[in-house]
């Protein structure tokens, strides 16, 4: 009797004490699950969560150059004002946009063309794909030095070739010219990353149903129509992910501009990342650099939101 009452009381209690207990119970039931995640979680807290928190905190302080952080002074939003109102901010932002958008656009288009051309089986296809992927695999440092040598103002092979072929009467100074420096760096970046888009889109092409393409062919659709109405719609998901990943990578790229020009000449190839690095480790203005980083971080989070959406949308369509 008393046992039964106890049980009823328990049940009542459970029902009333909301979902919090339920969650707690689920956590407890799954407690061994967390053991698997724990090591990763600890590492991520130290090397990811803490730095993000600290960057945000620093962005509200004026910090001494010698990095004695106990001497930092609260300044509110001053650092943000400094960043947004600085004379170079507009130019650097324009450079960043040009750099990011044109690198992404051309890398994607070259990758798409390569993926379509490589989709058909032919002799040497595997070797060709491997060769095209090498720039993506090697370090950006190596790529930067190689291209710096190719662009060399006196002995560079590109300048010499353009003289030989009659495009110019003397070697061109690619990297010391305000107008040509950014496009020259973008070419290097495209060289480095177009094959990433190629591989992604090649994998995407394998999901296009052959029967559909054949049916379209039987119905008299031209090659272009088959691409536009059959192939491309199937590539939409993977294209989205590829473009987003390219945008993020380009927004965050540092090595190519840093090694090849250091942002110069006269800031003509300065982008957000090189600027932040300069402010932090060159001018030692940690607070301002942190504010800049937080702004970048917000942009990235917005892109990240779309990235996650693109990925999960793929999940739903696969399920459906």
């Amino acid at each position: 009797m008393s046992i039964a009452t106890g049980q009823v009381a328990d049940a009542l209690h459970e029902a009333t004490s909301s979902r919090r207990v339920n969650l707690l119970r689920r956590v407890i039931n799954h407690r061994t699950d967390y053991l698997y995640v724990l090591p990763a979680l600890v590492v991520m807290l130290v090397v990811i969560a803490y730095p993000i928190y600290y960057t945000i905190e620093l962005s509200f302080f004026r910090t001494p150059a010698n990095l004695q952080m106990q001497d930092k002074i609260w300044t509110g939003l001053d650092n943000y004002v400094t960043v947004l109102s600085s004379s170079s901010f507009r130019e650097v932002t324009v450079n960043t946009l040009i750099w990011t958008l044109s690198s992404t656009l051309f890398a994607f288009l070259l990758g798409l063309g390569a993926a379509l051309a490589l989709h058909r089986e032919f002799v040497g296809r595997g070797i060709l794909r491997a060769l095209l992927l090498i720039p993506y695999v090697i370090s950006a440092v190596a790529a930067s030095y190689v291209w710096k040598w190719l662009y060399h103002s006196d002995f560079g092979v590109i300048g010499a070739l353009s003289v030989q072929l009659g495009f110019s009467d003397r070697p061109i100074n690619f990297l010391d010219n305000l107008d040509s420096v950014l496009p020259s760096l973008i070419v290097v970046n495209i060289w480095k990353e177009f094959s990433f888009a190629m591989v992604m889109l090649m994998a995407g092409l394998q999901t296009v149903p052959e029967q559909l393409l054949r049916a379209a062919q039987v119905d008299g659709a031209s090659t272009w129509q088959r691409f536009w109405h059959v192939t491309f719609p199937h590539l939409r998901g993977v294209s989205m992910v590829t473009v987003l990943l390219l945008i993020v990578a380009n927004f965050n790229s540092f090595i190519i501009p840093w090694i090849m020009t250091g942002g110069g000449p006269a800031g003509a190839s300065d982008i957000w990342i090189t600027q932040i690095y300069q402010i932090a480790f060159g001018r030692q203005r940690w607070g301002v650099a942190s504010a800049y980083a937080v702004i970048l971080f917000i942009v990235m989070m917005t892109l990240g939101y779309f990235y996650v959406k693109a990925l999960t949308r793929g999940d739903e369509s696969r399920a459906g």
Binding site: A40, F155, T223, Y277
Partner: protein, 294 residues
């Protein structure tokens, strides 16, 4: 099915000229030239003497090829060779350690994300995913301070720890994709036969996921081998430097010996290119994992 399709397709191969196919061929030829020429010029320059490289118009083909630039780099008896070999060893050590630690920590986490449905799983997993969107610079300043506080500046420990910021989330993400593709029924069968959940994971799933672990390891290794920003910021002592930072230091000091620099970049690229070529299948799979389900 594919045989039938093949015989069906054959008749229209005889159509006049497939312009699209020719356009594709030209495009590929263009891309091949665009990709290979810079690398070829790197190799050609690396077998020239300093004098031969600094000529205008350039020697298109080295008149007196020499491997002196390479022997200099690999000769432990001179200063340049000593430094280069030291950097090479440092890079190898840091990359291997990062890979081993990263994969060891990522394997159980990825497995849990793939199999278990614990509260907070979705949130945690997406925070792992979104990490890939952050630039190194966001982490650079706080990590630099953290390393200083821990007394790790100028040590390889600082690099191994910071390389986990990009290595670990990526490894978890890749491995989860591989675990998702291993049928859960295998573990269920093992559980029915009396294995514990952990035994099923170690004895059944781990061996099956070795391709995934290989793919993830390559990715992690290449990422660490090529890393520049952290190494550039955290290391100032010459004997600690990794290759990407090291070659910069000693070649700009001597007013840029271009053939030597090209030889060094070539040597630096060899390990990752060889690794990529041997394990290409895994590499490509890891690259596209997540965007496309297999």
């Amino acid at each position: 099915m594919s045989i039938v399709a093949g015989t069906l397709e054959r008749p229209d191969v005889k159509k006049p000229i497939d312009w699209w196919r020719w356009a594709g061929r030209f495009f590929l030829a263009f891309l091949l030239v665009f990709t290979v020429l810079p690398m070829a010029w790197m190799v050609l320059t690396s077998v020239k003497s300093q004098f031969a490289a600094m000529q205008y118009p350039p020697q298109w083909w080295p008149a007196e090829p020499t491997i002196e630039n390479y022997t200099k780099l690999l000769d432990p008896n001179n200063k340049v060779g000593q430094d280069f070999l030291k950097y090479f060893w440092n890079s190898l050590y840091v990359s291997l350690a990062t890979t081993v630690v990263g994969v060891a920590v990522a394997v159980p986490a990825a497995y849990a994300f793939s199999r278990f449905r614990f509260p907070g799983r979705t949130f945690l997993f997406f925070s792992v995913l979104v990490r890939n969107m952050f630039p190194a610079v966001v982490f650079l300043m706080p990590l630099f301070l953290l390393m200083r506080w821990m007394g790790l500046v100028n040590t390889h420990g600082s690099l191994i720890l910071t390389y986990l910021t990009f290595g670990l989330p990526l490894s978890i993400w890749l491995l989860k994709g591989f675990y998702d593709n291993i049928p859960i029924q295998l573990e269920q069968a093992a559980r029915i036969d009396g294995a514990t959940r952990f035994q099923a994971f170690i004895l059944i799933v781990m061996p099956l996921s070795s391709p995934g672990i290989i793919a993830t390891s390559i990715f992690s290794f290449i990422g660490a081998w090529n890393e520049y920003v952290y190494a550039y910021t955290f290391l100032s002592r010459d004997d600690q430097m990794t290759l990407p930072v090291g070659i910069q230091r000693f070649f700009t000091e001597f007013a840029t010996d271009w053939p030597g620099l090209m030889a060094a970049t070539f040597m630096m690229s060899v390990p990752v290119v060889v690794m990529f070529l041997v394990l290409q299948k895994y590499f490509v799979r890891a690259l596209t994992e997540g965007a496309i389900k297999h």
